[in-house]
């Protein structure tokens, strides 16, 4: 027993398997404690015991011990077949000393492991690691085991537990990962497409999305045809329309600082038009019904005078931090800054916003 304790203390420091379950460690510990006589008197290296512990994991089930042990399944270091035989447990698993990697099947159906190991009774692990892994996975894929990832002691590859009914080759693994990513993305789509929330399955949801996109496209087409028909009756007063674009930004004389150069909010392709309009073409109050509350006063600027643009508080202004939608909005900014300077801005601060509840002001 003392021997046992010694080895266990050795194991604590040596273990480098991080994914050993608590249960396995517990079992290993129990194994050690229950069958000390199976330890040969020869000086075991700690690795031997560690290996043995791994074997012993299978048989000690459902026993709860401390989990301080972290066995290091470095089975290969000088492990003799004879010593293995001496330590035969119920499983009577032999280890091939040359077997470099032994997969640790971490799962919940431990009984299955025992059966499997029993099936490999007295057989040397001559098979390559792969075989064992496959055996493990094949047998376990038929079991009701949950999927988990196991880190092998050698960092060469990762064993992945197959889910029920799924293959385990790398191809399908990649497929599975891909599908999971797609499912992630589809959650966003669910919010966009109305009525998708009720549908549970992936296929049904996609079905819904496809139909929705098609219907949207058809609607757009129909509406554009209608627009073409309605066109003669359209009457935007374009000048007014764009004159309503009030910009309250004060351009400093030296130029626009970088933070303020988000011209997306300022201008669009009508910028030139507006600027040129300011040369005297626009002199309107804006046909704005009083309920809108806009009040603008664009005076035709002369070279000396500065038109003033007043903003009523009902017009909201907004600056955004950069968003992905800005894209090439910089291109839209056609305003000549010198000219823009002549378009003066209110000296009084802009006081209110329409959607004040939606906005946070930050000074």
């Amino acid at each position: 027993m003392l021997h046992c304790l010694n080895t266990s203390s050795n194991l604590v420091g040596g273990g480098n398997i991080s994914d050993m379950t608590v249960l396995e460690r517990q079992r290993a510990r129990i194994k050690f404690q229950n069958e000390p006589q199976q330890f040969s008197g020869n000086g075991f290296s700690s690795s031997h015991q560690q290996q043995f512990m791994m074997l012993g994991c299978d048989s000690a089930l459902g026993e709860i011990v401390t989990n301080s042990m972290k066995p290091d399944p470095d089975y290969e270091n000088g492990f003799d077949e004879e010593t293995v035989k001496k330590r035969k447990t119920d499983n009577k698993v032999d280890l091939n000393s040359k077997d470099k990697r032994i997969k640790v099947c971490v799962e919940e159906g431990e009984s299955k492991i025992i059966e499997q190991r029993k099936g490999q009774k007295n057989t040397k692990f001559n098979n390559g690691n792969k075989n064992k892994r496959e055996n493990c996975e094949d047998s376990n894929s038929k079991e009701n085991s949950k999927g988990s990832e196991i880190q092998n002691q050698k960092p060469d590859y990762i064993h992945v537990r197959a889910r029920r009914g799924q293959a385990t080759d790398s191809h399908s693994l990649a497929e599975r990962v891909r599908r999971e990513k797609i499912s992630e993305r589809m959650k966003y789509l669910q919010d966009l497409v109305p009525g998708c929330n009720k549908i549970a399955g992936k296929a049904g949801m996609l079905d819904e999305i496809i139909n929705y996109v098609q219907s949207l496209q058809r609607q757009v087409e129909f509406l554009s045809m209608k627009l073409a028909a309605v066109n003669p009756r359209l009457d935007f007063n374009i000048d007014e329309l764009f004159a309503k674009e009030v910009f309250t930004q004060n351009f400093p004389t030296t130029g626009i600082p970088s933070e303020m150069t988000n011209p997306a909010y300022l201008q669009f392709n009508s910028a030139q038009q507006l600027v040129s309009c300011c040369g005297g073409l626009i002199n309107n109050m804006g046909i704005i019904p009083p309920e809108i509350g806009l009040c603008r006063n664009i005076n035709a600027p002369t070279s000396a005078s500065l038109p003033e643009i007043f903003l009523d508080s009902s017009v909201f202004t907004h600056i955004l931090p950069s968003s992905t939608w800005e894209g090439n909005f910089q291109n839209l900014h056609n305003v000549d800054f010198d000219q823009a300077r002549s378009i003066s801005f209110p000296s009084q601060p802009f006081t209110g916003m329409v959607e004040a509840s939606n906005m946070k002001m930050e000074m």
Partner: protein, 198 residues
């Protein structure tokens, strides 16, 4: 006075989607409205049939214009430039004469516990999903060129939301153009909030 100081007020919306929607709407209208006026003016010189195509073209261009930076938007732009004005930009829509698709779930019996059936069901579902993804690819402009499915789905998000906005803008344009101007100024015009005082 406060205005004398060099102070900047930053305004952030806590509902970023609305801002983006408004930006889109604004840019869209700003492109489309003058285009429509031009069409109106030159209507006499254009054949009747072509008017529709021209309008469609402008509608699509407005879409491209207001949603720059997406793969589908660039693809749409290329397509428009290539086909421009012939109305073949709508090929995308017309070719999808698939009707309402019905990938209705096959009668997968979930009640059977046999592993084989479950495997089969999974495979079937995967196939269905693959078909649907292929279908979606055709719907999105430029979907064929997008390499991976995940990227396509993310493009789809932006495409769908832009389509929705486009549709609402067009419907308000078509059905009540006179009210349009008022509504437009109210809802879709965002103006720079920064008050930088000298």
């Amino acid at each position: 006075m406060e205005g004398q100081q060099n102070k900047r007020k930053r305004v952030y919306s806590v509902e970023p989607n609305k801002v983006m929607q408004a930006k889109f709407s604004r840019n869209y209208i700003n492109y489309l409205a003058p285009a429509l006026m031009k069409i109106k003016e030159r209507r006499s010189s254009i054949e009747a049939k072509n008017v529709e195509n021209v309008v469609k073209y402008e509608v699509d261009m407005a879409m491209v214009f207001s949603s720059q930076g997406f793969a589908w938007s660039n693809a749409l732009k290329l397509k428009l430039q290539k086909d421009g004005g012939e109305g073949s930009s709508r090929i995308n829509y017309q070719q999808n004469d698939m009707g309402p698709l019905d990938f209705s779930k096959k009668n997968c019996s979930k009640f059977e516990a046999s592993k084989i059936l479950e495997e089969k069901k999974l495979v079937e579902e995967n196939e269905i999903v693959d078909d649907q993804l292929r279908c979606l690819r055709k719907l999105i402009p430029g979907g064929e060129e997008i390499m991976c499915d995940e990227q396509m789905v993310s493009e789809l998000e932006s495409y769908v939301s832009c389509l929705q906005m486009q549709r609402s803008i067009l419907s308000s344009l078509s059905y009540s153009p006179s009210k349009f101007v008022v509504c437009a100024t109210l809802s879709s015009y965002w103006i720079v909030a920064g008050t930088l005082y000298k």
